[in-house]
């Protein structure tokens, strides 16, 4: 009867939450944005997402075989990487480019560093950067939702006039360069919030991302620190520029609700592996991401800055951890 008794260090009970559970939560959190992508971009969205996830899983399995280790597909981290990468790709991207991106994300950015938990850069963002550098035109060819599905109900009054071939952020950039009227950009707020604008698959609907983010917060899969820091920093940055020159810069809310800002705040910057450990570090990291996004959008060459902002902050994340070393509750001990 007593044959099955085991021993191990205390504690002997644990919270019923696994890495797989955490990843599953992220997938569930992404599902509203996935639904929005399917709604706005239809079969193209479905193809990009499916190809991306399947390639990530397949490449991860191959890596396991080559390393002669049991595969790690069960932790679902490859699915999350695949989904986030898919969400940050334009709908019209050819599928062969998706496969290359997925393979780069898993092999170069994750497995070569040692697999789950050991990578320095967010695999999805690093792969997107790779694709942008290699296939610049493909990565900036935007599909307008209405051209795919002309029979969709009119969700936005501005839809027909405002956006044709560019994302709200590209318009905002033109406005900064004096090539467009900033008022038209500001008028896009409602469509940007609901999602009927051009952009990457998962970026378009701010509403869907907010729902997913709220889910992650309620489930305590992520803490509020990083999203709050990203959004507050970006808002403050945008607000200052808007106050200085409202004729040139769009309103902070347009900036928050368009492009990759929200998916970054809730799903990308919160990737635990590449973010700092301590809450103080999370604040600094998030604020850095938010400020860098706005810096690139307003002053840099690109209309969107999420990808590089995240990668730059990923690189300094270990330094932030070192700078924010925790002091024990009882203070530093006198004698070592």
């Amino acid at each position: 009867m007593l044959s099955k008794i085991t021993v191990s260090p205390a504690p002997h009970i644990s919270q019923k939450r696994s890495t797989r559970g955490v990843m599953l939560d992220v997938i569930i959190g992404l599902s509203p944005a996935m639904a929005a992508a399917l709604y706005f971009f239809r079969v193209k969205a479905a193809m990009v997402m499916a190809v991306c996830v399947v390639s990530c899983l397949f490449v991860e399995w191959i890596c396991g075989v080559l390393r002669k280790k049991p595969h790690s597909l069960g932790d679902l981290s490859a699915v999350v990487t695949g989904l986030i990468l898919a969400m940050s790709l334009p709908p019209a991207i050819p599928l062969w480019a998706v496969v290359i991106g997925a393979a780069f994300a898993i092999v170069i950015c994750k497995m070569l560093f040692g697999g789950l938990g050991a990578n320095i850069f967010n695999p999805a963002m690093a792969a997107r950067a790779f694709l942008s550098a290699s296939f610049g035109v493909l990565m900036t060819t935007w599909t307008v939702p209405a051209t795919i599905a002309p029979d969709l109900p009119q969700i936005s009054a501005t839809q027909t006039t405002a956006v044709t071939q560019a994302t709200p952020l590209a318009w905002a950039k033109s406005a900064i360069q004096g090539k467009a009227d900033v008022k038209e950009v500001n008028a896009m707020l409602k469509s940007a919030f609901l999602g009927s604008v051009g952009g990457c698959l998962g970026e378009t609907s701010a509403l869907a991302l907010l729902i997913g983010g709220a889910y992650l917060l309620i489930r305590r899969t992520i803490t509020f620190h990083i999203p709050a820091a990203v959004l507050i920093a970006a808002f403050v940055f945008a607000e200052i520029f808007y106050l200085i020159n409202p004729d040139k810069y769009s309103t902070p809310f347009v900036q928050l609700f368009s492009g990759g800002m929200l998916i970054c705040a809730f799903f990308i910057a919160t990737d635990p592996v590449t973010a700092p450990l301590s809450t103080k570090g999370m604040w600094i990291f998030g604020a850095g991401v938010g400020a860098l996004i706005m810096l690139i959008r307003f002053i840099g060459e690109y209309p969107e800055g999420v990808m590089y902002a995240v990668l730059i902050m990923n690189a300094v994340s270990p330094l932030i951890d070192r700078a924010c070393k925790l002091i024990p509750a009882g203070g530093k001990p006198n004698v070592k």
Binding site: S18, T223, L326
Partner: protein
């Protein structure tokens, strides 16, 4: 009825299922005299005792059989009338093996010892006891912290001119899931506990006493508050409800909750003028001071889904886990782990001849579902740096960094992340989604460090 909700708390910590329902309503039950008792010579922090008896000697219940020779040590006593069968190495939950005295119980002339609570009532007056007498009683009773740490109580309550004490905190939190022994002691032995608290307060020379009870035990808060109300206000004893959160009953956490003060890292509570004692320790102090009965018995909660008859049992210190389990109807089919102590800090034992010690408040019998399948199969996945362990750590440490350093024998790095400041509460392992045994690594690190220190001489 006053508001008993405790808002006082500390930062960090976790909320494991309380699981007190198995035994909280079981009155303390006296266990029959065991066939043999194994009294360990090291049941406390500090130096082990020297045996006072030899093989084949006759011993009587309450007789001192192990003598404390060092300053930080506590004697041990025989719980039964019997014959010394052997003095040998016996299993010890924390340190593996230690010397102990094996006593075979006499077949006749042994009656199970009854609790002493009936000798105490509201008329008790501590004024009749000198400080010296109380400290001597604590020493001679072999009194140690019965909440788990096992620090000799005399050293704690004795007046120390270099560290004068101002406040006595009675730790009645019982924050560990499953355990209910202190709760039952407060309900059933109220006056004895109070007598012990007052004696300890008198010996320690404190001006205030606070009894910290978690607010998930409203009945204990009510009973103790009513008992305290009969006292003179000048004694300044108060019951303080505190928030139910693990590890509220860690002394550093309790001090932070009640006094908003912090014990310095590596320091002890007397450094800031505070003495912390456990409820059961106070009851045992009263028993010795008033009735001259040393610490030979204690209340042990036998609990969990894997035991037939859970409850709170008054057992001789030295009874084996196997015999106690048999008395409680035996293990059920689903038993997966036998834990001496609670599920958060207790020790999983493989050898059921393991005797109950002064510090064992519980025997928790866990099933495979309690342990969770991943933990049962010891499946650890890589750290995803989620930071949950940092948020849960009540001492504001970085468990994952320390564990990582220990894993790779980088002891200097483990020290940089304050390895020794860990209180081993287990919160980090509890929350880890990768099921990494963070606390286990940290404990190993401490052990390695102690060993290295020893080698250096």
């Amino acid at each position: 009825m006053a508001d008993i909700r405790g808002r006082l708390t500390f930062s960090g910590g976790v909320h494991p299922p309380e699981s007190k329902e198995y035994s909280e309503n079981c009155p303390i039950e006296v266990v029959p005299v065991p066939k043999q008792a194994a009294v360990l010579l090291s049941q406390h922090l500090g130096a082990a005792c020297a045996p006072l008896v030899a093989k084949r000697d006759k011993v009587a219940a309450g007789q001192m059989i192990g003598k404390a020779e060092a300053f930080v040590s506590a004697p041990v006593h025989s719980p039964v009338n019997g014959t010394v069968k052997d003095i040998t190495l016996l299993p010890h939950p924390a340190i593996g093996r230690t010397m102990g005295i094996l006593i075979e119980t006499d077949e006749t002339g042994n009656a199970p010892k009854q609790p002493a609570a009936r000798h105490f009532d509201r008329t008790f007056d501590p004024a009749g006891f000198s400080v010296d007498a109380i400290c001597r009683a604590a020493q001679e009773a072999g009194l140690v912290g019965m909440g788990g740490a096992g620090f000799p109580s005399r050293v704690k309550i004795e007046p120390n001119p270099s560290m004068p004490k101002e406040l006595l905190i009675i730790n009645a939190c019982e924050c560990e899931p499953f355990i209910t022994c202190d709760y039952r002691v407060m309900l059933e032995w109220t006056w004895q506990v109070l007598a012990g608290i007052r004696l300890a307060a008198r010996a320690a020379g404190v001006s205030r006493t606070r009894i910290g009870i978690e607010d998930n035990k409203p009945e204990a808060i009510r009973v103790m508050t009513e008992a305290v109300r009969t006292l003179d206000e000048a004694e300044d004893i108060q019951v303080v409800p505190v928030k139910t959160k693990y590890p509220q009953g860690g002394e550093r956490q309790l001090i932070r909750a009640i006094e908003k003060k912090t014990v310095p890292t590596g320091g002890i509570p007397p450094a800031i003028g505070i003495c912390v004692l456990n409820v059961a320790t106070c009851a045992a102090l009263a028993e010795m001071a008033v009735l001259s009965q040393p610490l030979t018995h204690r209340v042990v909660t036998v609990t969990g889904r894997a035991i037939a008859r859970p409850g709170n049992y008054y057992v001789p210190i030295g009874i084996s886990a196997a015999e106690l389990i048999d008395h409680c109807g035996g293990l059920t089919e689903k038993a997966a782990k036998v834990v001496l102590g609670g599920p958060m800090m207790g020790f999983a034992i493989a050898d059921l001849s393991q005797p109950i010690t002064k510090t064992s408040g519980a025997l928790t019998l866990l099933t495979r579902t309690d342990v969770s399948e991943a933990k049962y199969q010891k499946q650890q996945t890589p750290c995803i740096r989620c930071g949950r362990c940092l948020a849960a750590c009540p001492e504001n440490l970085n468990p994952t960094k320390i564990a990582h350093a220990v894993k790779h024998f980088r002891m200097e790095m483990a020290d940089q992340y304050y390895l020794s400041a860990c209180i081993e509460c287990g919160c980090c392992s509890y929350v880890c989604p990768a099921q990494i045994e963070l606390t286990g690594y940290i404990k190993t690190g401490k052990l390695l460090k102690a060993r290295a220190k020893k080698r250096q001489g």
